[in-house]
């Protein structure tokens, strides 16, 4: 499958990655090759096969509605690149 510049640009926006021109060129080639390769799956007739998102045969795993966590703000915030007044600080964001 041929990957266009536009596709690489688009995927870059989705993935929040900024690639250099050389990286974009490489990514185009890599992705084309990889998609050709995984295209092998089209050999399989999967019309009547259910998509299996969990191989694990378990369902209905729940928590009871009880508060178990206490305030751990200082600890959690200690890894933030920037913080202020107990909040994570980020570049100006319009809602």
């Amino acid at each position: 499958m041929q990957i266009t510049d536009e596709t690489i640009e688009y995927v870059g926006i989705l993935a929040k990655l900024e690639l250099t021109d050389a990286e974009k060129e490489q990514a185009k080639q890599d992705m084309s090759k990889m998609l050709d390769y995984v295209g092998k799956l089209n050999e399989l007739d999967t019309d009547n096969v259910p998509a299996m998102s969990h191989a694990f045969p378990v369902s209905n795993v729940f928590r009871e509605d009880e508060v178990t966590n206490a305030d751990d703000r200082e600890n959690l915030l200690s890894n933030a690149p920037e913080s202020k007044n107990g909040c994570y600080k980020v570049p100006k964001t319009f809602d």
């Binding site: 990514a27 999967t46 259910p50 933030a80 980020v90 570049p91």
Partner: protein, 493 residues
Amino acid sequence: MSLMAMTACELGEKIKSKEISVREAVTASLDAIEERDKDLNCFVTVTAGKALSDADEVQKKIDAGELTGPLAGVPVAIKDNMCTKGVLTTCSSKILSNFVPTYTSFAVEQLEAAGAVMVGKTNMDEFAMGSTTETSYYGITKNPWDTTRVPGGSSGGSAAAVAAEEVPYALGSDTGGSIRQPAGFCGVTGIKPTYGRVSRYGLIAYGSSLDQIGPIAKDVRDTAAVLDIISRYDSKDSTSYANAAEDFSSALTGDVAGLRIGIPTDYLAEGVDPDVRNAILAAAEEFKAKGATVSEFALGMVEYAIPAYYIIASAEASSNLERFDGVKYGYRTAEYRDLHNMYKKTRSEGFGAEVKRRIMLGSFVLSSGYYDAYYVKALKTKALIKKAFDDAFEKYDVILGPVAPTTALKQGESLSDPIKMYLGDIYTVSVNLAGLPGISIPCGSDSAGLPIGLQLLGQTFHEKDILRAAYAYQKDHKYARPAFLSKDGKEGA
């Protein structure tokens, strides 16, 4: 005999009988790391100070009779994708180069509660994406058997550290073979438990539906002892198995009489190195001799496993790695124009090439218009692969085959061609897709003297079957050490 030449259980016995102290054991490990890790680079972080003070605490508890387990006081290394409270946890990535978790992963907590003393965090492929431990931001790890070769990956640091006798055992994680393949390349034993057996809480996710933590050690007995400790139900992981705890060590009877072993002919077809094929067939003969029934069969679906795996793993990874954005933890780019520029620069500078490659692929296969063609198709393929295994396990208790088509590759050999590298995972990835347990044990060496790995696969939650078979084989084979350990005067018993 050097303390680090012992297995974890042997060391644990000597600690228990007060022949040696915990501090001595830990010091021996730290010394070995000091001496050998300059060359091998198995560790991202060595926690010497903490390890020594923990050693004294554990010693007190052993002396007080509070800790009586087989691994109390034994040093351990943890793959650097498991969160450890207060200890740098990088996933071998620049983007987590300053991340100090506020909590410890469940599996590590279980080990610590059993008296394990962590000596450090091991190197890996960045975010566990790779089969060579060459994609780490902190440099490549070398294979102790031949330092021009890779140790395998992604748990290459853990496997190499065990093989190089820097530590008696380690924890790794396995998403597509990342415990079994490096164990095979480094001549040690590694088990990937059934999905759900070991809690993933605190394991930094790569492919959430595939990831599983497991031990790497010198022998089957050690891996069973570790599984006895880390296999517990965890209410913090929705995919944790309610009956996760079992007495795995009880499976080590040495008896395989009546065990039905199947060898997929698809696993010994073209592409397999002849030395590897011969070693696997020889091992099969031994099982026969021990009273197991061994027969060949066609498993099917083998060639579809890698495409399905890379679609699913990349898709999940593209989502799992979105949280690394320079807001809450980890690296943030120095200069940026605005929010989106900050995101893009942080991520582009923080992730390595292979991680970016998989994020791009994963984002693409989930994007509008491609989801059904790729992602859903892969999930359906996964169902067919699971079905193929289910059918096989109607007839066999254990499936036997190679871990990888080759022994350890030269450094740099696979990086140039990603698909070639991915093909090396052909015998391991389907196990993750189907959620099955698999163990890798050494079974001889190739003409270059490099270890060959034998893989045994079991049914869902039937780790005992593969442990039983692996132990029966291993008890009649002497553990082989990398040559440099035998030459430097630290020969084992």
